[in-house]
């Protein structure tokens, strides 16, 4: 039986990239490395801790979102967070016009 829990996400200040707050109070681009909180109190405490990174100009607007804890690990429960966790639109590049950023 999946249990409703929460994780913390934000966008990185420099490039807007989606990041997740980790157990080590850092940020990771990888969803699986984000920490999971199973009760409201610890989630709120962590959210306050994550806001230090706003002052440090690392991220913008951190917030809590719901995940379902499954045998395969936490999964976002909303379509919005599933898409954010992929770091890309759900539109496959070969179907759209995305050709990728061309470096200098």
């Amino acid at each position: 039986m999946a249990m409703a829990s929460q994780m913390i996400t934000a966008n990185r200040l420099s490039d807007g990239m989606v990041v997740y707050f980790t157990a080590g109070k850092g940020w990771s681009e990888t969803f699986a490395q984000g920490a999971v909180w199973n009760d409201k109190e610890s989630a709120e405490t962590a959210l306050n801790e994550s806001k230090e990174s706003v002052k440090a100009r690392i991220v913008v607007e951190p917030y809590l979102f719901d995940v379902a804890v499954t045998d395969a690990g936490p999964k976002p429960t909303s379509a919005r967070e599933r898409i954010r966790a992929d770091h890309n639109p759900s539109v496959a590049p070969d179907q759209g016009s995305w050709t990728g950023r061309i470096p200098d």
Binding site: G16, A79, P89, S90, S97
Partner: protein, 560 residues
Amino acid sequence: MYRYDEFDATIVRERVEQFRGQVARRLAGELTEDQFRPLRLKNGLYLQLHAYMLRIAIPYGVLSSRQVRKLAYIARRYDRGFGHFTTRQNIQFHWPQLPEVPDILQHLADVEMHAIQTSGNCIRNVTADQFAGVAADEVEDPRIWAEIVRQWSTFHPEFSYLPRKFKIAVTGAQDDRAAIRTHDIGLRLVKNDAGETGFEVWVGGGLGRTPILAVRCRAFLPKQHLLSYLEAILRTYNLLGRRDNIYKARIKILVQATGGEKFAQMVEEEWEKIKDGPLHLPQAEVDRIHRYFAPPAYETLPDIDPAFETAKLEHPEFARWARVNLVKHQVPGYAIVNIALKSEGGVPGDASADQMDLLAEVADAFSLGEVRITHHQNVVLPYVRKRDLFALWQRLKPAKLATSNLGFISDIIACPGLDYCNLANARSIPVAQRLSRHFGDPRKLDEIGELRLNISGCINACGHHHVGHIGILGVDKQGQEFYQVTVGGSSKEDASLGKIVGAAFSEDDIVPAIDTIINTYLANRTDRSERFLDYVRRAGVDPFKEALYGSAPARRTAAE
């Protein structure tokens, strides 16, 4: 085209440097996000789902080939190789990085472009009929007046902090291609009984959470009074519009609460005080702007070009494209060419950097170096000789720019939706892609006939779903994407708002539901001359309800 004078150029360059300083201060920690947000938004920079998004103004949809090439360069150098043309004749880049945005704006300033008036509670980038200056049915070229409105509205000190954003659209023809009744102010150039040209002024339209069609505020406004009359409307709104509730702050709510006639009377009272003041337009200034939009040196050509006629006979696919995508030009021997950014399975409104370069190339080769962007998220070449059409089509086809579906069900308006947008509740693009494949067969398109299908990923209605003949609205139900369907909307001169057919459909059910709607229409229309919209207006929503839900909608799998 209008060319910047020294004031325009200075304003835009200074703006870039101001924003460069603001970004530096943000990155250095001297500005908080709360302080920086309104500053970045005033420069068109949003923070979206995966990244920042930069929205760039294309005033009244007109671009030079030089500007298009610059957009292609920015797409390659600073983004991910593409841009997205929007329903407000803007272009958005979806992956810029904050420290580089001032450089992007600098590049834009080099080609007389910017991101001013693309966000915030100001008068936004003015939009217009994409066929301005070339349409056969035009009373007068609306670009002159759109440019005058642009100059008046940019950084207008009184209207920089309105209760809410404010959109103005201008058309010069009875056939409304600028959707004027869905705008805060819609302007239509008309002739009065004395044969003089002036404006019919519509006010209080808008889509979003509370869709309302504009009401006519004045039947005829002499042209020299345009700015004073607009100022009277804006001032009345600025003073009386609600600032306590963001959902009730648009002028449409004020006009509805006040009553159209009473509102018009208040505008007239204000206008009487200012109509002969400094905003009275001197003819010399109108003439000066007019010269920028003087018709090009057209060749004298026969209206029927033998080579064009022969090519149509020899190449049926070209003949279809010519039938569907060309519009009658003012000048014999010329055509207005529509290039649909709606390839089968493609993303509506997206153009890759390579496609943009090709558009610039064909604009130079065949259209006097000019393109237009439409609110239907397509591109227009306004000055193509009929004898060049086949060569043009051959250049467009390999680049997936020769789709022959203008005005058909696969010519879909779609917002970026939940694939990109922070406000969205559901994805728009994958639904558009699936529908464009489902209705990909040109014979099917011809059988269905004219049909506008618009998709919005949320209630803010950037995809204009309320005024689609078929509208699809993405909604969120416990974190899952569902799609509500409306029928019977129109953004044209016969504007109407669509009616909801019933409970929303799941992601899996939405394409079959649209198919059912189309089949219902095809089975019940009187004949081919009864368009989908005509049928809905005659038969109402009940035949669709019956076909979609049967007699007991509650038992259907569709969510409530």
